[in-house]
């Protein structure tokens, strides 16, 4: 069981030269970061008029997430607390401007100038007190307060977080709401332990139709539409009934696991985000006798 980096050392110490290098030369991490930031940009829901925006990348690290922003054609300013990570970002020649700073001290930006903010796996660091002067509550308050101020009205912030537990999730979301944001949490792949990702989608200003929280993803490349999710619910209620079926009845059925069972399992795996073969007429069909 790998332990969480937040529990090992403060960010500016944990991401030292070695860790920063390791982090940025792992193709797996690069891949995950790219996917997360692509999804974050999608959730930002910037108007698609081809105009580059000024975005903020909080906890930009070595600029992996910023590269996605550059690919979308946006200008960005990155903020990170680890000097080693930033110097790797310099070496990788990222397009955005970099800034050494601590988000828990507030962002130090002029009010209303940023068109949107993303943050990939960074905000949960605020929940730790790494120095005697640190109070997670004050730091969260300073962070969300300054983020709210620096965003233009109606702009969104998408923060991908790995909260350690329910209490942390509530703490983070609570402070976001208290600083005036509206919005909520979008959970992608809620049924999978590995692929499950949480995004705080926050909109500057009071709740409105446009600030409604988007739906989470259930499977790669497609988000759950209303119809699908209602269908899921129906299926789920069937599963519950199945689960409670008395054992004797199961034993009577000696044909083994039928098509229905296979379909149910496949649906389950799909919801976990695994790659599952398509359903065809051959699904769960018995092999011919010659096998």
């Amino acid at each position: 069981m790998t332990s969480r980096p937040e529990l090992q050392a403060p960010p500016e110490i944990f991401y030292n030269d070695d860790e920063a290098r390791k982090y940025t030369s792992s193709s797996r991490i690069i891949d995950i970061q790219a996917k997360l930031s692509e999804r974050a940009v999608e959730l930002l829901a910037l108007p698609e008029d081809g105009v580059p925006r000024l975005l903020l990348d909080i906890g930009c690290g070595s600029g992996l997430s910023g590269e996605t922003l550059t690919e979308y054609g946006h200008q960005w300013i990155g903020l990170d607390i680890s000097e080693s990570m930033l110097s790797i970002a310099l070496e990788r020649e990222v397009e955005g401007d970099l800034m050494l700073g601590d988000m828990g001290q507030g962002l130090g930006l002029r009010p209303g100038v940023i068109d949107g903010a993303i943050s990939i796996s960074a905000v949960q660091w605020l929940c730790n007190a790494d120095k005697s002067s640190h109070d997670p509550r004050l730091r969260l308050k300073a962070f969300f307060g300054s983020l709210y101020r620096s965003l233009a009205r109606g702009a969104r912030a998408v923060l991908q977080v790995y909260p350690e537990n329910l209490a942390q999730r509530e703490l983070i979301l609570g402070f976001a709401m208290r600083s005036g944001f509206s919005g909520g949490v979008v959970v992608d792949f809620p049924h999978s332990t590995k692929k499950r990702k949480e995004y705080l989608v926050l909109t500057c200003g009071p709740p409105s139709l446009s600030s409604a929280t988007p739906k989470g993803k259930a499977e790669d490349g497609e988000s759950c539409s209303d119809e699908e999710s209602s269908g899921d619910e129906q299926n789920q209620s069937v599963y519950v009934a199945d689960r409670n079926r008395p054992r004797k009845k199961q034993k009577l059925n000696k044909k083994g696991k039928g098509r229905e069972w296979v379909m149910r399992k496949k649906e389950q795996m799909r919801r976990k985000g695994n790659t599952v073969p398509l359903d065809t007429k051959y699904t769960a069909r018995k092999r011919k006798a010659r096998f």
Partner: protein, 167 residues
């Protein structure tokens, strides 16, 4: 435990002359790309765009904007021109601060006052573009206008970390 692990792994990746056969190729590719970048010393600097957004965040400071610039080294770097972005940014920019900052780094072509009607002029947009995106402060400092606290800029990265008593 993490320390020796990360150290040795980084060492292996850097020192081994032959690519590790067990590792997949994409990993090696990334590694080599990274090494290549390391030796071509092309660094990114802080643009005046960022300077225009930054304000001093020290406790008790009511007006931390604009930060004064102390120049040690300024670099010019050509950046793709995008008129839409400039028009969009014009509303966000504090014009006087931009004029002041561009003069400090040695570019005095910007007009004192600017209105949104000027955005149609190509000449103006070019100047705006040059000042906003192509002038990079590499070494120097940003100074808080109220307290005089210096935020050093090193390799184009401003160090905005506050001391404990400033939070």
């Amino acid at each position: 435990m993490t320390d020796w692990r990360s150290a040795s792994r980084a060492q292996i990746q850097l020192d081994s002359p032959e690519p590790d056969h067990r590792a997949d190729h994409s990993k090696n590719k990334v590694q080599f790309e990274w090494l290549k970048l390391k030796y071509e010393d092309k660094l990114r600097r802080m643009r005046l765009l960022t300077h225009n957004m930054l304000s001093s965040n020290i406790k008790g400071v009511t007006n931390g904007f604009p930060l004064l610039i102390e120049v040690e080294k300024v670099v010019e770097k050509a950046v793709d021109f995008n008129a839409d972005f400039l028009r969009n940014m014009f509303a966000m920019i504090e014009w006087n601060a931009l004029v002041e900052a561009s003069r400090t780094v040695g570019y005095s072509e910007l007009p004192e006052n600017a209105e949104s009607s000027m955005l149609d002029s190509d000449e103006f947009l070019q100047k705006f573009h040059h000042a906003l995106l192509e002038l990079h402060l590499e070494e120097g400092a940003l100074v808080c206008p109220e307290t005089g606290r210096k935020f050093t800029v090193n390799k184009g990265i401003p160090n905005m970390l506050l001391h404990e008593d400033e939070v």
